[in-house]
């Protein structure tokens, strides 16, 4: 090995590129690389949001308009179709769940196309590809943030209580974000191998919306409610995640421990499984794009 005086102090260590074997890369260098490149993912997502509405009349106002219009559509649907009618309470409940559901669905949709759509970036730069779904989820999260004041304004028109417990909903928000990151990573991997994924995704998302306590509440279910709720707690991750979020943010009640537990488990399992799946496959992406 040469002495340090003879050559410029080396910044990079030895890198060896070998044939891809299905399997995980070494975590140490991968995650330190990932951490090093996080500002790029942040800037990429930020500039994507900024660029999205540049030539429109409403511009960045769309970040609020979009969810509002969506809430209006669903409110009309529920108010017209349901027997116990509408009312501001109903609207507040729908809005509360819908906005955070959009966080998950938006993260999913963008995450699915993050790798296949990032063609030139992936083909020409070496970086941990996990940054792509990360950027997609960050985008979805930052689109969600402006909707929080909108929800609070709507809640102000209802009789629901306010209190400090509402702040605990941040924990659920965190769990939801982590969960959607895991799902986005899975979808991104699937999309590379089965390009049909992004075509199925909107329908999958829609069905999932109807299965989650966004447009309905547990009390609406009537007699079968308890059994159904138990099944859902285990089977539908968004049941606990969105349910807990709604309970805290809207109703100012602390959910039961099992809701917290189910939410946390789902978030961690999704994130870990998604990341591992993605990382084990990511070296193939450049060849398959």
């Amino acid at each position: 090995m040469p002495t340090q005086e003879a050559v410029r102090p080396r910044r990079g260590e030895l890198r060896v590129y070998e044939p891809h074997r299905a399997g995980l890369p070494k975590f140490g260098p991968y995650f330190s690389d990932l951490r090093h490149r996080l500002p790029f993912a942040a800037e990429f997502s930020r500039s994507g949001i900024r660029a999205a509405h540049t030539q429109t009349v409403f511009g960045q106002l769309w970040l609020v308009l979009n969810p509002l219009l969506m809430a209006l559509v669903y409110y009309l649907l529920v108010a017209i179709l349901s027997s116990n009618g509408g009312g501001v309470d109903r609207l507040a409940h729908i809005v509360c769940g819908l906005f955070v559901f959009q966080l998950v669905a938006g993260g999913l949709q963008q995450g699915a196309t993050s790798v296949t759509g990032g063609g030139r970036l992936i083909m020409n730069m070496a970086f941990p590809r996990l940054l792509m779904p990360l950027a997609a989820v960050r985008t979805a999260f930052f689109r969600f943030l402006p909707t929080v004041p909108v929800f609070l304004v709507i809640k102000a028109f209802t009789d629901e209580p306010w209190g400090l417990q509402m702040l605990l909903s941040v924990v659920f928000l965190l769990m939801i974000t982590v969960f959607s990151f895991g799902l986005a990573a899975i979808m991104a991997t699937l999309q590379v191998y089965f390009r049909d994924t992004s075509s199925f995704l909107p329908f999958f998302t829609r069905i999932w919306l109807y299965l989650s306590p966004v447009l309905w509440t547990i009390d609406d279910l009537g007699g079968h409610g308890q059994r159904f709720a138990h099944l859902m707690l285990i089977g539908n991750p968004l049941f606990s995640l969105i349910g807990g979020w709604t309970q805290l943010a809207l109703l100012n009640e602390v959910p039961e421990p099992k809701v917290w537990l189910a939410g946390a488990i789902w978030a961690v399992v999704a994130a870990v499984a998604g990341s591992l799946l993605f990382m084990s496959r990511e070296r193939e992406f450049a060849v398959r794009l």
């Binding site: 090995m1 040469p2 002495t3 003879a6 050559v7 410029r8 080396r10 910044r11 990079g12 260590e13 030895l14 890198r15 060896v16 590129y17 070998e18 044939p19 891809h20 090093h36 490149r37 500002p39 790029f40 800037e43 990429f44 500039s47 994507g48 900024r50 660029a51 540049t54 030539q55 030139r120 970036l121 992936i122 083909m123 020409n124 730069m125 070496a126 970086f127 070296r283 193939e284 450049a286 060849v287």
Partner: protein
Amino acid sequence: MDLTQGGSRRSDENAHPEVQPAAADQGDAVPTDTEAIDAKVVDDQPAQGTDAEGQAVAAQPAAAQPGDEPPADAPVADAETPEPAPAPAVAQPRIERKYPVDPDAPPAVSVQDLSITYRTTFEKIPTIKSAIVRLGRGERAVREVHALQNLSFDVMEGTALGIIGANGAGKSTLMRALAGVLPPTSGRIEVRGEISSLLSLGVGFNGALSGRENVMLGGLAQGLTRAQVAERAEEIAEFAELGDFMDLPLRTYSAGMAQRLAFAVSVHMEPDILLIDEALSAGDARFKNKAAAKMDELMSSARAMFLVSHSLASIRELCNEAIWIHEGRLMMRGTPQACGDAYTRFLEVGENAFTLEDL
């Protein structure tokens, strides 16, 4: 082929033929008198001597230099006689190094028996029969493209390696493999140092944002921190010379302007190992001069540089070694002049590349 591109630079040397006989790899120095012609003959010897890769070098008759600039025809053909001359042992790099290079250091880049194969599937146009049988889809055909086949070479520190070859020879694939984007199908690559690559201009750029914002994005994409990019932002803006356009959206730029901006971002990364893939075609003549000067500057502090270009004059200008790749195989390694000559002779003659090995 832009063989005459370097003509304007060479004109000074034509007028004052103070050719240094010891400048071994200056095959591009144009001889206009006998003394210089002897120097030219001396040049040819090391050109053959440094082809250390075991590839049989196409014979280099001292007279026929098709890659030369125009002024060199009449006096050369008559006066050259092969004279035995001592060959210098090591080709002198034309770039002044700022720091001493340890000759015992391991190679900056070591490519060992590298092969890369692309597998593509594509749907053949469905016939009625196959459409019915396969539910409306065409036959899925799998095609393997052997982009690189058993490539081996080492690049020591201080080398500016030019890579030449026909279109589709595998040059960009090699660059992507060196950058770590494509995993090898077999073989291995060892790289010592941080790589900064200018593989595809405009990477990370968003058309709706202004030039300055894209500089930030591009800098971050190359791996710098925000603070580092902010430091260099002024230099980059000055280098690109876009004036007011820096604050306008990128979609208002012409293609050349966008390329200049991308190039400006990439060369300010202080790379250890610089990969440049046909990026020198960007810009007008004035910018090209600046770009070449900047790359010289980079080479004086970088470990190694890889330059892919179709302009043989650029390769001769900027590189001190060259390799020629054809259909994924390493055909030749040597001085830029020697490789360029062999390559152009191959293109003109149009023979199968392997026949040249037997001459």
